[in-house]
């Protein structure tokens, strides 16, 4: 009996039994009664189960519990390279007490349980004095006594706890940025304190203005506010003056220009009037302005930094060591120490550290991140493998040919860097406005001056300066940074890491969008898509394939996991690159490539021979199944398009984007996927090399904005060259580093959500700009009619800023977990 059926993609969503956060897809365990989001939750949950609560006995049990749960990964890494004096000199700090301190990035940090567990490190390992985990950055600060314990032992202990540690790269740059952050915060603090005190004094002055005040008090108050305002204007306002000066020199437009104009006009006018003892002073408005603007910029900076940090940390995940073989002994060395001609060992589950030729062993290599080919390739002695590919099945020995920057990946990364540098920054909306704004303000101020010279020459200058001050674009300067930082913050909570506010602006201008296929439109791994033939053979196949680690065997098992499996005794012979022959109980089962199976089977069920051609035509990898010498079924493996792709792309197209696929996979597969998604055939390109992707994107840039969406190293150069590069869930670290946006949740729908979110963000920005310009128009009207005094300015200014702040933080630009999508941590 022939039976064709589609095996649907099985996607299970689950919440962590300990903390309630969603469980990452990679950690889902089929059939387990409880799912956990991370190793910490699993251990804590077990402890609480046993005792009702976590207790002082916990540590021993925990250690025992952990060892049995340690994730099945390439284990027994020694982390010997961490003890290298050169490495320690670069990354560790020595304290005055002789203790060393360093920061390590930890994989798998997820929630508060992880903080608890990681910070137990001093109790687990004598010699470790302190371990402090930064939850938002997944980074632990360890201080230890080098006389008692080695850093490699610390790293192994962390690994045993379930958090694979990685040394941080670029510690010095991080240190510099952290110091800059602190200075920026200190500026905000100073500006805030000054603004508060000057405002308190201003209240007294306003009181005096209405009810009368002794002149010596008034003079005293003015002098006090002048002295108070001085540090704020010089140190805090200096940021804007420097920015304006740079912009002037480069003949560029910048918001700093009108801001500096207003600040200087206000402060100098006030200072002169204080010395003269007559006229108005605007110190309260000036200092409040500095404070609000600095605070807005600080918030934006913090948000952008958080996104940049996360992407950079992911880049630390690249292996920093290789296993060098010398006289049959494996020794861990830093990646930099590899030279061509060296012999290295690559265990199953590890990334290949350098380009080279296999000298011993056979395995399958997953090159999907490098080439876009979803089905892993069989390799044996004599074959060439590239750095950055994943060794899936078994141990390989490799003769190194090229290392570091000379490898294929290295050359690609050089391209990426070159393009990331070349990309011209766009002039943001607010800065474009600022040019016209300055011109308008200056013209209006001149007009005010001329007008009032005729009416009341003594007050003409006062009114012109008042106009300059009241139009100082506080709200205008806040409009963009606040809206952007609020949006980037919401985006991060919704699963998008956005590296800069300008990215959101660029995404609102439709152009071309090129999508990678493998891993982006599809899941990037082989799945059983079609089964034609006798269903009764499936329990036998499941039993036989359970003993193989071949990726297609795993795909078989995943698809058949819900079905019965033959319990009979199994013996198997696996032929590398061909298939598997097994005895299951009394029956013989052969599963493998058509050539492999047909050469061993005697008879083929009618119809199945043509079925192989059908499968190949549909872009699937065919596998035949023979039972007792008779071919009874054909299975098609492929990388099915994600379920949400069609609807999501339709939404994106509805926003005016022209879509296309750029893939390294075979052209016929790409054409089939593109046709399924309703894309123009001319825009579906297969067999494109990484350099080819870059060329396509670079050529399309001449015709307007280009967005590249991808996940692999092969997309990285194109991501960096595009107007906006979007790296999707599960992407390679190179893609993350090159992209402007990193999507942390799976699914093509996220792209559409990102575009919608950017549009909403820009709407908020425009609304903010309109609000603040509206306030300025009112201010200009008051100043030109001479009705403006410091009290009115002091009311108008914060009012406009407040409107902008509320408008920014109330806006629902991106959906976040709070909006009811994912359960929150209890």
């Amino acid at each position: 009996m022939l039976l064709a059926e589609e095996v649907g993609a099985r996607v299970t969503a689950a919440a962590c039994a300990q903390c309630g956060l969603p469980v990452p897809a990679g950690l889902l365990e089929a059939g387990a009664p409880r799912q956990f989001c991370c190793a910490g939750c699993r251990a804590v949950h077990a402890l609480m189960d046993e005792h009702g609560r976590a207790h002082e006995h916990g540590l021993d049990r925990q250690r025992a519990a952990r060892s049995s749960w340690a994730p099945a990964r390439p284990g027994d890494r020694r982390y010997a390279e961490l003890d290298d004096p050169g490495f320690q000199a670069r990354t560790c700090r020595r304290g005055p007490d002789g203790l060393l301190a360093t920061e390590l990035y930890l994989e798998g940090v997820h929630c508060s349980a992880c903080v608890w567990l990681v910070e137990k490190l001093p109790g687990l390992l004598p010699g470790v004095v302190e371990a402090r985990l930064d939850l938002s950055r997944s980074q632990v600060l360890v201080r230890w006594d080098p006389g008692v314990v080695r850093l490699s032992a610390v790293a192994r202990q962390l690994r045993a706890l379930g958090y694979a540690p990685h040394p941080r790269r670029g510690m010095r740059a991080e240190e510099v940025r952290r110091r800059e952050d602190r200075v920026a915060l200190a500026r905000v603090g100073l500006a805030g304190a000054v603004a508060g005190n000057v405002m308190a004094i201003a209240f007294a002055l306003y009181g005096g203005m209405l009810n009368g005040m002794e002149p010596e008090f008034a003079a005293f108050f003015r002098w006090a506010s002048l002295l108070l305002a001085l540090p704020s204007v010089i140190w805090g306002g200096g940021v804007f003056f420097r920015g304006a000066w740079t912009a002037l020199r480069l003949r560029a437009l910048s918001m700093d220009l009108p801001i500096s104009l207003g600040l200087l006009a206000g402060f100098l006018h006030g200072a002169v009037n204080t010395v003269r003892g007559t006229g108005e002073v605007y110190f309260d408005s000036v200092t409040a302005l500095i404070f609000l603007l600095l605070f807005g910029r600080y918030l934006l900076r913090r948000q952008q930094r958080a996104a940049g940090d996360a992407a950079e940390l992911a880049a630390s995940l690249y292996p920093s060591s290789a296993r060098l073989l010398e006289d049959g002994q494996a020794r861990e060395v830093p990646l930099e120490a590899l030279v061509p001609g060296a012999l290295v060992e690559v265990r199953a589950g590890e990334l290949v550290p350098a380009d080279g030729v296999i000298v011993a062993g056979q395995s399958t290599v997953d090159a999907s991140l490098l080439s876009g080919e979803p089905v892993p390739v069989a390799v044996a002695a004599g074959d060439r493998v590239h750095a950055g590919t994943l060794n899936v099945a078994s141990r390989l020995e490799l003769r190194v040919e090229r290392t570091g920057e000379d490898t294929r990946v290295g050359r690609l990364m050089t391209l990426v860097e070159a393009h990331a540098r070349r990309r011209a920054p766009i002039v943001q909306l607010a800065d474009r406005i600022s040019g016209r704004f300055v011109a308008a303000v200056l013209v209006l101020a001149a007009a005010t001056l001329l007008l009032w010279v005729r009416v009341d020459p003594a007050r003409a200058l006062d009114h012109a300066v008042a106009l300059l001050i009241v139009t100082c674009p506080c709200a205008l300067g806040l409009a963009t940074p606040l809206a952007m930082s609020a949006a980037i913050g919401r985006a991060a909570r919704g699963g998008f890491l956005v590296k800069g506010g300008d990215v959101l602006e660029k995404l609102t201008r439709p152009g071309r969008m090129w999508l990678d296929k493998t891993g982006t439109l599809t899941e990037g791994r082989a799945r059983l898509v079609r089964w034609c033939g006798d269903v009764s053979a499936r329990p036998l196949v499941a039993a036989a394939e359970a003993h193989s680690s071949h990726p297609l065997a795993l795909a078989f098992l995943e698809a058949l996991s819900g079905e019965p499996r033959s319990r009979d005794m199994v013996e198997i012979i696996e032929t590398h690159g061909g298939g598997i022959e097994a005895r299951v109980g009394e029956r013989s089962v052969i599963v493998g490539s058509p050539a492999f199976v047909e050469s061993r089977a005697k008879e083929v069920v009618s119809g199945l021979a043509t079925e192989v051609d059908v499968l190949v035509g549909a872009g699937l990898t065919p596998v035949l199944v023979a039972v007792d010498g008779r071919v009874v079924a054909a299975a098609g493996f492929g990388d099915p398009v994600r379920g949400d792709a069609g609807a999501a792309l339709a939404r994106v197209r509805g926003l005016g984007w022209r879509l296309g696929i750029l893939s390294g996979d075979h052209a016929r597969v790409v054409a089939a996927v593109g046709a399924g998604l309703g894309l123009e055939p001319a825009m579906c390109r297969g067999g494109v090399s990484p350099e080819g992707k870059l060329d396509v994107v670079a050529a399309a840039l001449a015709q307007g904005p280009v967005v590249m969406v991808g996940d692999g190293v092969n997309d990285a150069a194109a991501l960096a060259a595009a107007t906006v590069g979007i790296a999707v869930h599960g992407g390679a670290e190179a893609a993350l580093a090159a992209a402007d946006v990193f999507v942390m949740r799976p699914g093509v729908t996220r792209i559409a959500e990102l575009l919608d979110g950017s549009r909403r963000t820009m709407r908020v920005v425009r609304r903010n700009l309109a609000f603040s310009l509206g306030y300025n128009v009112i201010g200009v009207g008051l100043a030109m009619s001479g009705a403006l005094n410091p009290l009115v300015a002091a009311i108008l200014m914060p009012l406009s800023s407040l409107t902008v702040i509320i408008s920014s933080y109330r806006a629902r630009t991106f959906r976040t977990a709070k909006d009811g999508e994912a359960p929150t941590c209890r």
């Binding site: 402090r132 930064d134 939850l135 952050d181 915060l185 603090g189 005190n197 005293f220």
Partner: protein, 48 residues
């Protein structure tokens, strides 16, 4: 009044000094983890 105002300003200068010290010593670098850390029980009595 001529004494009161400088005294008030001294107070706020002291508060500003504390803030500057706190930001310089990195107490604002991580705003998320400490809120979680308080929830963990001490295994050993404090004051070792």
């Amino acid at each position: 009044m001529f004494i009161l105002l400088p005294v008030a300003l001294l107070f706020s200068a002291a508060a500003l000094g504390v803030f500057l010290w706190a930001s310089a010593s990195g107490q604002f670098d991580d705003l998320e983890t400490p809120s979680v850390r308080i929830l963990h029980e001490d295994d050993e009595p404090p004051g070792r």
